[in-house]
Amino acid sequence: MTQTGTPMESTVGPGAWHDPGALRTLRILHRSGKLAAEYRAVPDLLSRMPQADLPAAGQLLSRLDPTEVRRHAPDVPVVSVAVTGHSTVAPVVAPLTAELARHGLLLEPKVAPYGAYVQDLMRPSDEALPQLTLCLLDAYTVFDDVTVPWRAEDVEAAARAKLSLLAGAVRAHQEAGRGLLVLNTVPLLRRFTHQLVDLRSRARLGAVWREFNRGLLSLADQHPSVVTVDLDPPVGEGVPACEPRTAQYARARLSDPLLAAYAREAAHVVRARLGRTRKVLVLDLDGTLWGGVLGEAGPQGIELGAGLRGEAFQDFQRTVRQLGSQGVLLAVSSKNDDDLVREVLKGHPAMVLREDDFVRVNANWKAKHDNVRDIADRLGLGLDSFVFVDDSLFECGLVAERLPDVAVVPVDEEPALHPSALLADGWFDLFELTEADLERAGRYRTEALRQEFREDVGSYQDYLEGLGIEVILRPPDESELARVSQLTLRTNQFHLATERLQVPQVADWTAHPGRHVIAVRARDRFGDHGLIGALFLRREGELLRIDNFVLSCRVFSRGIESACVAAVLDFARSTGARAVTGRYLPSPRNSAFASFYADHGFAVLGGDGDDPDAVHFRHDLATVAPAPAHLRLDAAFGPFDAATDGHGDKR
């Protein structure tokens, strides 16, 4: 929206998005010793802080004692990170502290001694497992093994040897089950290339170097819990790779600005790991997806396609569409007349994005924060899944103020800069794309059809009966493990024990005797929901334990969750179990389902010495309620385990 709307009473005025006073406020808090006590206010301060001030903020924040912060803000999630690497790695702590604080997270770093990274990775598992290990590599990872005089061939040999050493260390780290590991590609420095005076050798060195980086990148392909952050893009956009003096005197071989860029990427990895990947992109129209004001210029008059700026807007639409093609749900919130907007979405020849690309188009004259909330309600998603893009600072400010959970991306009057503004923060980064991601937008559109149907029928029960829901429970096959893992990583509401599992951990569950992973699929007359849930079952003597139960919020309130419980109880009884237990581990987002097991005939057992934070429930199988009558249940848990009588069971 570029037009100035009716002035509204608000603390957010026009002017710059970034607040140059934010660092000053942070300093005052620090000086008065109140920073730990006020830690909850930090993300907001950082979100408006000019990027150039973030390193200074990181310094102040990294001086805080995490224990002290936790005392004041026990609900702030703590991220334990082990930092190791080839050279001096401690300088990454301050920028990483700032980047995690921007996302409301508290860093608990553990920095390894200088140069010990190979031993560090190969060491057997420690008791206090960090959530994440960062292993920082730099050009000296190879060049420390090269002696003068050298040729490109010598670098090739050193790089090969180092890569194979690293590959072994990474394998040991992964096989020891030590969790997520972040590596990085290594920028080649001019101070090395230009020590070769013949141009042919210099080119050869470049090729050898890329081969080393290719090897580092492929480690992420070989190990599902390894991420390789590519440092080529930031270096390519002008971030200096190295500061020769600190490299020389302090063996700090990656420059501060590059460490800051790296820390931003590492924070995205953490966010993805914690299930905080955003899911919905809400876009403004005038000034954001096209130039000009539709209400004044009309569909033919907007700046799109033709002309320099028109092409730039089109390019931004391509960027948005590319995100949409990977499961990011696109929606519109625009102060415009709905019929005009529909006309452009349907008919404008230069539109890249069409009506079908959006799961919701809210074009009206209501406040944007109300529209974003409406979109969230209709999609059944939390506001912390949302990213909002607008070229009006007024609208951005208002949404940020009213809906602090929404990530706000202000774009400005230069459309050529829209793509980099949108992508600056990797809001939608995730570990692995699954089929469900690719089909997501279609599913949400089908959901809109279901809602229309629901508005047509008399009662909710009539609606459920009319849907013709079918629920299918099966152990996941190999190709479905990624989707099961993703459900555990991304689901926050109906996630009764909120256990985040990477693919290998899910595979481990399925392979373990006495354990079952059961994938939940559902479909109805409007379409296939796909794989929307998972149950993690564990047999312990005559008990069948539901250790965790996760269900996508898309399918709440249709009896699917009750059908799952009925199937588990039935399975337990038919395989000789005496009781079924359920486990609920409170998280900030799953409280709506605290009494789920109690509502399904389980008795509360309370806490457990080994598992003190969880609440346990028990069902004695005396009376098992059948699955809701409005749906059809098809459950086959597979051959059951040796813990009971060992016969195959096909219920």
Partner: protein, 79 residues
């Protein structure tokens, strides 16, 4: 921070504001080893901060060899 590091007091303010390190005036001549919070990472950050502030290069090797905050100040202020 917009000071030109005219005197040790401004240097102490800079340490507090930029590095989050509180140093009393009396502590300027105490050995750096007495300050458990002081480390080489802060020193590297100090180089970046002072250089962007002063717009000139400071001798990093001298800084690394300083034994007190006053010596650090003298190195960064070019005295």
């Amino acid at each position: 921070m917009t000071t030109a590091l005219a005197d040790p007091t401004e240097f102490r303010i800079l340490l507090e504001e930029e590095l989050g390190l509180h140093v009393d005036a009396d502590d300027l001549d105490r050995p750096l080893d007495d300050f458990p919070d002081w480390d080489s990472v802060l020193l590297l950050r100090l180089v970046t901060v002072v250089e962007s502030l002063a717009g000139r290069r400071i001798p990093v090797a001298d800084l690394l060899q300083a034994r007190t905050f006053r010596q650090l100040y003298e190195a960064v202020a070019g005295r």
